[in-house]
Amino acid sequence: MSVTAETTRREAPTPGASAALRDALRSTGIRTWPVIRAVLAGTMALGSAVGLSAVAAWLIAKAAEMPSPADLALAAVIVRFFGISRGLFRYLERLASHDTALRGMVELRERTYERLAAAGAGRVLTLSRGDIVARIGTDLDSVGDAVVRAIVPTGVAVTVSLISVGIVTAIIPVAGLVLAGCLALAGFGTAALTARQARIAAEAGVKAHAEVAATSLAAIESASEHRIWGTTSESLARVEHANRDAEAALEAEARPASAAAALLTVSQGLAIIGGVWLAVVAIDSGQVSGPWGTVVALLPLAAFEAVGAVPAAVQQLYRSRAAARRIQELTTPLAGTAFAATTGASKPADNTPADDADAAPHVENRTDPRVGTLTLDRLSVAWPGMTPTRPISAELHPGETLAIVGPSGIGKSTLLLAIAGAIPPHEGSALLDGAAVTPADTGHRIALTAEDAHVFETTVLENLRVARGDVTADEAAEALAAVGLDRWIAALPDGLDTMIGSGGHTVSGGERRRLLLARTMLHPAPVLLIDEPAEHLDKDGQDALRAVVTRLKAEGRIVVLVTHHESPLGYAERRVDLRG
């Protein structure tokens, strides 16, 4: 639970943000016509409300002249029609705008996935699952909401306002002018005020929010420490202080928000006063007939509903912008870190056409011949701000195994990323046959199984096919037997075709470890890196691990294991301890 992740929700709409949203919306491939269709349906819906109010006003005023009922028949039919059409068109508008947005999301999700897949291994392998899920899930939806909740309502506000002004202008031109002025005041004024509110939220709000999260986290997670040192009340006071700041920030946001609410009411009020005044004067002087004058007087009562949606639309626009920016950041290298350089290097891997998706992996992993030696030459890694790991050196030939041992948090997993070529080392180098490893090697000549490697929500067999697309049922069964999962698979309802993962059969920590081990075994890469293979493994599991490593060695593969366990690595002929 990182504090920065918490705060990104209200991230500042930096200058690049609106460009990011435009970019993201372009990536959705949403065409103009479906959006216009949604706006038209929305115009019909809210236009019906305006129409109902106008025709009903005409009807009542006409009826007051006591004509024959037949003169009212048409108006009565129109009033009833508008009474029905509003709900109907609103329904159509919602369907149309959601469908457009969802189609765009499918496109954008695929593009984002492609960009993610093409991004440097160093960028992708260092992303947390939470980040990916939050951005592809929530943030993509937020971009889609820009269509449904910002673009379409704004379009409808414009068209309905124009229609209202048009009707009134045709009857009493001056009244049309007044209505236009009031609608413009309401629309642009509330938009400006809401934008101001969003900016305050982004500046003061984000800061206050981050402080609240940080102080709360400190107060809760270090509660025991505060008790021991008698600092509980101080830590709670800090939360309280951050709380006050957050309250003050909200208060600052409330000022333009309440001004916007007041502005909407006062502009509608002015339009009503103007309408009634001009209509009464015009009817009295005989310039217009009673029924038409009444339309001018009463139409402002219904004309402001569309404009009333502007503040929410502006807020959505700001939210979508921030989301688009975060999505963009997901696939761009981290600026200012040692890893910024890695993305460019992934180009060699980009030659597989993405549309030929299913066939591609089979070829991809077959390309590589054997590798002679893996050399680690005074290799050391570091994150920004982290103490560099102790330099290690080793030379491995096919059939040899290296065990890297060290306590948690010392940088073992980062070291594996460097050996895999995903990130550049801090110092020293990792070489395959004398040439430094590159991100193009990651997953191809060097396969990495991370400690938190993903078990997909699909069948057992498909999970193994993640390593190699053409794994047969027999190969899979054999690999599972090698890791001691033969009895487990026999007990599953559908054997290899049993669904696993969060949607299916649950997998325990030990079973998951073994499954990942089987998957690693099936990967054709000549160099295999495995992070914490012994974690969660009981005695039998340890034996299975030993069997697997022995077998991989017999196949002539180079295996690098990383662990904080001392015991299980007797079969590794090389061993380096990161503690020195």
């Binding site: 009542i60 919602r94 809760i220 939360v239 009463l298 306590p407």
Partner: protein, 542 residues
């Protein structure tokens, strides 16, 4: 679903006050809307009536707006006054809503953080601690739209709507009848639509969630795919799943939006029917123009809050969920913290651990299990053992932060020799309870956990630096008992030697020093070494 969480009203002062004020503003708004409608009717009626108006078309409601308002010269200023008041009301409502929302969030946040901080280390480490931070830093924010958008509309729906119906009744009973008959149809039809479509929408919802989860699952696995060189393939699958997800979502929306359509349909159709009915009655002279205009203007206003409550349904659901999450935390009982006995003076004797076992949160294992050790003043005791064997947990128990589930921790005064007959023991903690005053005991303990927090000052320091500062604080505290958890992790060999030296020096000056460690140097410097182990809790021993 309840529209308001009673706990908000009962326990959170600002929420209660706000609900009362909002109801009051709702009444005021109802009055202003009514007067506005009547004023417009008054001003328009004379120019529309074929013959000069004789009676008062507004009946008893005429007392609200005098007939003199039929003249523009007196009607328009009154209308302007009403508009000014409405503007003020909407400004005030919005302002108060924001303020109340901010205050409620702030108050709940303080309460939740204080409560969570008092829940003890186990609860916090169980993941509930992470939940709390999520609730506090983002979940509670959902209360703002609830207060700003939903509650005011709810207040209007329960004040303005009934009041306006009474006013319409005062003007024209037939229109009032139409309104009163259609209004209950809104919830009835919405429930009916909900019932009819429930099965369908549940099916769609389930398909939608499954597909959404699978898409995310695939994407979340990108690092794994990348590490195995297989990231290219699934792009098409992402699209395929996305298409299926879109179709499922549209299917569910087609159903879900039906209730919205029914709501809009009924409310606008009712207004249309009222208008048409009045039109034909006007022709027959069954109703006056002034009355008809007033009813025409009022009718849509009756339905407006009801419609808005429907629109802001999500704000309500999210807000209530946030409040519920907060109250769920607040309603967890606080663990008992310490007993009534005064804390013994730890400087006077040895802390003796006898058969101490501490159950893991899932209750499956004990870590540590059956620990026995005697930590005497003037000695350095090292606790060693594999990861997860309970080293840190034992330190928590010694600090009085976590009572052992089995065994006993006591302070033995008198001779330190094992066979001295006149030893005097005072039990500190036993059988799942701390028996002495927790604060009195804590005051004598200098405990440095693995990731010390030093407040805002510590945030700019690296973990190693923070550890140094925290150790300095402990070494200089003058407290008789030092409990140090892996004090040499994150430190270079030189600093490590220094720490060992200082621990020895403190022990030499009479302090009781206990250190959990993996470091051979530290173990080597210790007078006493305890190896802790975890063990599964078997049914028999329980």
């Amino acid at each position: 679903m309840k529209p308001i969480d009673p706990r908000l009203v009962v326990r959170i002062g600002p929420a209660r006050r706000y609900i009362l004020v909002t109801a009051g503003l709702g009444l005021l708004t109802a009055l202003l809307v009514a007067v506005q409608a009547l004023l417009i009717a008054r001003m328009l009626a004379p120019v529309l009536a074929p013959t000069p108006l004789t009676g008062d078309g507004l009946g008893w409601l005429g007392t609200l707006v005098p007939t003199s308002a039929r003249e523009l010269s007196s009607g328009l200023p009154l209308l302007a006054g009403v508009i000014a008041l409405r503007t003020l009301t909407s400004w005030l409502q919005e302002r108060l809503a924001h303020r109340a929302g901010a205050q409620v969030i702030s108050e709940l946040r303080s309460q939740v953080v204080a409560h969570a901080a008092a829940m003890g280390p186990r609860w916090i480490a169980s993941g509930r601690g992470a939940d709390v931070v999520t609730v506090v830093s983002r979940g509670l924010d959902d209360l703002l739209p609830y207060f700003v958008r939903y509650l005011p509309q709810l207040a209007l729906a329960s004040t303005l709507t009934p009041i306006l119906i009474v006013l319409v009744l005062g003007l024209d009973w037939l229109s009032a009848l139409i309104v009163t008959l259609t209004l209950p149809l809104v919830p009835i039809f919405m429930i009916l639509v909900g019932l009819v479509t429930r099965e369908r929408s549940e099916k769609h919802l389930k398909a939608m969630q499954t597909l959404g989860a699978r898409t995310l699952d695939l994407i979340a696995g990108v690092p794994t795919l990348k590490a195995l060189g297989r990231e290219r393939g699934p792009a098409a699958r992402v699209r395929e799943l996305g298409e299926a997800h879109r179709k499922a979502t549209m299917g569910s929306l087609r159903v879900a939006f039906l209730s919205g359509m029914v709501l809009e349909l009924l409310t606008t159709l009712a207004v249309a029917i009222v208008a048409v009915t009045m039109g034909f009655r006007l022709v027959e002279g069954g109703i006056g123009i002034e009355t008809a205009l007033a009813v025409l203007i009022l009718a849509p206003e009756v339905y407006l809050p009801v419609r808005n409550v429907g629109t802001h349904f999500h704000a309500s659901a999210d807000g209530l969920a946030a409040a519920d999450a907060a109250f769920e935390i607040l309603d967890e009982p606080l663990p008992a913290m310490g007993g009534d006995a005064p804390a013994p003076d730890a400087a006077r004797g040895a802390i003796v651990v006898t058969g101490v076992g501490i159950a893991t949160p899932d209750g499956v294992r004990e870590a540590p299990s059956g620990a026995d050790v005697r930590c005497s003043p003037g000695t350095l005791t090292a606790i060693v053992g594999a990861n997860g064997s309970g080293k840190s947990t034992l330190l928590l128990a010694l600090a009085g932060l976590l009572p052992p589930t089995a065994g006993r921790i006591s302070l033995e005064t008198g001779s330190a020799a094992d066979d001295a007959p006149e030893r005097d023991a005072e039990v500190v903690a036993q059988d799942g309870a701390l028996l002495v005053d927790a604060d009195g005991w804590a005051k004598q303990i200098a405990w440095v956990p693995q990731r010390p927090d030093l407040g805002p000052a510590g945030r700019t320091l690296s973990l190693g630096q923070r550890q140094r500062v925290a150790l300095d604080r402990a070494f200089e505290s003058g407290r008789p008992v030092l409990l140090l958890d892996e004090p040499t992790a994150h430190l270079d060999p030189d600093s490590r030697d220094q720490i060992v030296e200082r621990m020895r020096a403190l022990a030499a000056s009479g302090a009781t020093v206990v250190v959990a460690t993996h470091e051979p140097d530290v173990v080597h410097a210790a007078d006493e070494v305890l190896t802790v182990e975890s063990r599964e809790i078997t049914e028999v021993s329980a």
